[in-house]
């Protein structure tokens, strides 16, 4: 049996807010296999983003153990975590999180800079990544000159460019209309077909429908975990 991609054991995350403690996660166990597509659902404030941030090594759990690709990352330094993020994970955010007044190409190249990839290689790979999200010809547009759907595709290209095996998307369609949402979901589904693991955070059932597994959170605990046959977004979008 191969090592699971993600193995979370009794994960807790407590935020200190002045004198109050906010228990965002209260003991979560979750195992995710490589190459799967999973949607994390739940109402606002249920702990979805907190969980994704920990899975994505942007944050550390207060308690519990977390193995990423078989390796315990819960005690790594900030610098080591940055390294793991750069190699393993591509993020897609609700608010795109692109650098404004900067070209699409430069945005996509950025992760490669921190891996010491040469300038010529960066250009080449960033162009290819933009092609994969159907943005060939828009390389030199500044991100603020692009539509919401186009911006999110730039963000996906940025997540792809490092060839990271995991894509984590936190409400990727939250700021998009339904047509562009389909386009984005089609691209993400295409990545699953290529063998990547896609972890999707959403509170919308029709977005979760594109995943083959749905985990539901409530008040920092998993209340449901089920397999399903995913809807094919490609057919709708095309």
């Amino acid at each position: 049996m191969t090592t699971p991609l993600i193995e979370m054991r009794a994960i807790e995350r407590t935020y200190v807010m002045g004198d109050n403690l906010v228990h965002a996660l209260r003991g979560v166990d979750l195992t995710i296999d490589k190459g799967s597509s999973i949607a994390i659902m739940g109402t606002s404030g249920s702990g979805k983003s907190t969980m994704m941030n920990i899975m994505g090594c942007l944050d550390q759990p207060t308690k519990g153990s977390y193995l990423l690709n078989g390796k315990d990352v819960s005690r790594l330094s900030r610098s080591q975590l940055a390294d793991v993020r750069g190699r393993m994970i591509g993020f897609v955010f609700q608010s795109f999180n692109l650098l404004s007044r900067t070209s699409a190409l430069e945005n996509v190249e950025m992760p490669l800079m921190y891996q010491g990839v040469s300038s010529a290689d960066r250009h080449k790979r960033a162009r290819q990544a933009l092609e994969r999200v159907n943005l060939a010809g828009r390389e030199h547009h500044h991100t603020n000159q692009l539509s919401g759907g186009q911006q999110q595709r730039v963000a996906i290209a940025r997540a792809l460019v490092t060839e990271a095996p995991v894509i984590m998307a936190d409400e990727p369609t939250g700021n998009l209309d339904s047509k562009t949402s389909f386009e984005v979901m089609a691209i993400l589904q295409g990545l699953v077909d290529e063998g990547k693991t896609v972890i999707l955070v959403t509170h919308e059932a029709d977005i979760a429908a594109y995943a083959s597994r749905v985990v539901t959170l409530r008040d920092g605990l998993i209340i449901e975990d089920r397999q399903q046959t995913p809807v094919k977004a490609g057919e709708v979008a095309a």
Binding site: L58, R78, N97, M110, Y114, R158, T162
Partner: protein, 409 residues
Amino acid sequence: MSLLTTFKLAIRALWRNKVRTLLTMIGIVFGIGAVIAMVSSGQGAQLAVKQVFQSMGTNVLIVTNQSMRGGGPSTGGGGGASLTWEDLTALQAEEIPTIKWMAPVLDSRTQVVSEEANWNTRVYGTNATWFKIRNWEAAEGTLLDEDTGNSNAKVTVIGKTVATQLFGTASPIGQTIRVNGQPYEVIGVLTAKGQGPMGDNDDAMVIPVKTFQQKIDRGIAKYFRGQLLVSMTRDDAAEQTMAKISSILRDRHKLDGSQEDDFRIRNPAEWAKAQQDSTERIATLLAIVAAVSLLIGGIGVMNIMLVSVIERTREIGIRMAVGAKPLDVMTQFLVEAIVLAAVGGALGVALGYGAAHYMAGYFGWPMIFPAKTAAIAFAVSGGVGVGFGLYPAIRASRLDPITALRYET
């Protein structure tokens, strides 16, 4: 990330915010500019004072009437003169051991005419020792000697400026210059000395003192209305020599203890020294002012970098999310601060050079580019970038990626 990439990134980030970049740099630009301009001007002024002093001749005292200004015209009436030609003869007769040479100098600004042209210059009446005191050689022909200098011959030795103005490129030797209708034969041309305390040293025409009295002052007078140049044997003999001259003259003028001198003895070396001291003090003061403005420039850099870190919190979060290590983020901001300060420093050196050049032209002192100071100032501005950029850079690197990503601008 490679350093080259970091530099490119820094330049792009600074370029993206041109106005702010420029405003941030202004402090550094003016700080460095002030340092360069001040040091350059200070050195130029000091050199100018030194040159003035040297062109007058070293170890020289000037004896004049009390009421007369140095270099003023000796022609024209008016009282106030108390020195007599007999006083001069008496001083000569004393054979004061610290005195090397003495030369009476009469002078007058007059129109002088050649066949071709006319020119307004200063005519000096003196003797052969004057050239020795002023350490002035003939470039062409001869100087006044013992014979001609003490005669009433109508011969003249002229400065380069007069030679050019009256005779152009032709040799003036043997030519005639007319002053007040009288012809003077040019027997020599002096070497060029350039600018001096009273203006162009080379704008001069020298004739024997007796000739001057007869043809320009129009008659031998009792009173001496000129300057007596006294050159001394040693640097440190000034005080002693002045006292000796003073006592002889006071004796001859029958002044008692309560009466003031009716003559003046000036020591240009003292004056030059005082000038030099004060320019040195001013230079030091200005250097301090410049250093303070550089410090303020540095604080300006820090201030803007802190603002920049806050404004770019989200950017920092994004970079961290895609794999930037804390060290990468710190280097990025530090390099930005260094580039900012270094570019500001370079502009400052250029500005300072321009300002110094302008001042040198305006005040007529030599332009000195203080290369060493410029190098130091440039290095210091780079140091200011590191010093004042470090704190904001560390702040940036300590940001938590989650908090930074959630930051709303």
